[in-house]
């Protein structure tokens, strides 16, 4: 594999992580992290949508007029999200999760990561690297989602993937389940990431 392609795949996962470094796609990422199961489904959905819409937009890149490109991109992304949503609704085990994620599946359309990757990468690159870039960004997003969900489910209900991990004597911390804690936790993850990688610190 040549070096540039490797860079395309590895960069979004750590050095250019969409959530902690580029601060994109925060909107949906925090609300779905109360439980690991929902976070995992969301991560997979976003990865697929980002990858596939980057691929399609990259194929179309020479025929989209610049002035209306936002609408064209939105339609492509919306189509992908509808596909994902219908698949989730149809699956026996995933229907309950789709209900629990409620509007946030639909909000993948306006997830800044998807649009951001199309604008920044897919419109200027060939289809295959665009697909990989989209998928890698989805994975980078999913990684943070899983980390946040891990702490929130463990401390908030004492379980992981619905299985009890902490002893029954543990009193669940209700603050962890509430929305503000997700923000504080994410702030701490960004703190840790930037303390470890000093190049990312803001002046």
């Amino acid at each position: 594999m040549d070096k540039k392609l490797k860079e395309t795949i590895l960069n979004p996962i750590l050095k250019g992580n969409p959530i902690t470094v580029l601060i994109l796609g925060i909107c949906s990422s925090l609300a779905v992290t109360v439980q690991l199961k929902g976070a995992l489904v969301m991560a997979i959905s976003v990865t697929l949508v980002t990858g596939l819409s980057s691929l399609v937009c990259s194929l179309l890149r020479n025929s989209i007029p610049m002035r209306v490109r936002i609408i064209v991109q939105l339609v492509v992304v919306a189509m992908m999200v509808i596909l994902v949503d219908q698949v989730l609704k149809a699956g026996e085990g995933t229907y309950a999760i789709d209900k629990q994620l409620s509007v946030y599946i639909g909000l993948i359309i306006t997830n800044c990561i998807v649009m951001g990757r199309i604008e920044a990468f897919a419109l200027g690159n060939k289809p295959i690297p665009s697909l990989l870039d989209g998928l890698a960004n989805g994975v980078g997003y999913g990684l943070i989602l899983i980390i946040v969900a891990f702490f929130r489910e463990l401390l908030g209900s004492g379980t992981l993937f619905g299985l009890r991990v902490l002893p029954a004597a543990y009193v669940p911390n209700n603050l962890v389940i509430l929305p503000p804690f997700a923000l504080i936790l994410l702030g701490c993850i960004i703190w840790a990431h930037r303390a470890w990688d000093k190049d990312l610190q803001e002046k």
């Binding site: 509808i82 639909g106 909000l107 359309i109 306006t110 923000l183 702030g187 701490c188 703190w191 803001e202």
Partner: protein, 204 residues
């Protein structure tokens, strides 16, 4: 009375930012000073106030299961709700584009202060989120979506102006280097969210 209750609830209790994290990306990116935050906040109120009722009308008369009954009895079974994402986002994107053109042509002074934020708004989650929540809540008449849109918009406006004011002051304080910028902003928003939680459970 119900309208007032819905209005207050959508501003404080179901605040777009603190309860649902909607529109977070532009919320964090454009809250460095109060002036630009003000512009974006007003633009969000404006777009939300018009697109949400338009989407309500489309949802009630075209998309819902059985919504096409007015075309004739043979359409009573039609369910187009799987199209709602694409219809909603198309309405929002088209509305934003049209408003941008009109403002550019007739109100150049407003355009120079608001114009740069308008394209950003098409992909602001709070706009699409508002429409999706509207669909989920099944508002019976056109009055509710109007009040809900205005309330959510004001809630978002309030949140971004508050954060911008705090960040302006915070730029003078001594924050640990890795936490500077985004990190401390997240924690600030979290603390603001906790403050907003005192409104939870208010019954009007």
């Amino acid at each position: 009375m119900e309208y007032i209750s819905l209005f207050v609830k959508s501003i404080f209790v179901d605040n777009m930012i603190f309860a649902y994290f909607l529109g977070m990306c532009s919320y964090l990116a454009v809250s460095k000073n109060v002036k630009t935050a003000n512009g974006l906040g007003l633009a969000v109120i404006f777009v939300l106030f018009f697109t949400l009722p338009i989407n309500w009308v489309l949802n009630t008369y075209v998309l819902q299961p059985g919504a096409l009954k007015w075309l004739g009895p043979q359409f009573a079974e039609v369910d187009l709700s799987f199209l709602s994402f694409i219809v909603f986002i198309a309405v929002i994107a088209a509305f934003v584009q049209i408003v941008e053109m009109i403002v550019e042509k007739y109100l150049p002074s407003l355009y120079s202060s608001l114009g740069i934020f308008l394209p950003l708004i098409a992909v602001n989650c709070s706009i699409l989120g508002g429409s999706l929540f509207m669909q989920q809540r099944d508002f019976p008449t056109l009055g509710e979506p109007l009040v809900y849109a205005l309330g959510s918009g004001i809630g978002w406006y309030l949140a971004i102006v508050c954060l911008a004011a705090i960040r302006e002051k915070m730029s003078y304080s001594n924050v640990p280097a890795p936490l500077k910028g985004v990190g401390i902003t997240f924690i600030t928003v979290g603390l603001m969210g906790m403050a907003f939680m005192i409104f939870m459970g208010i019954q009007l």
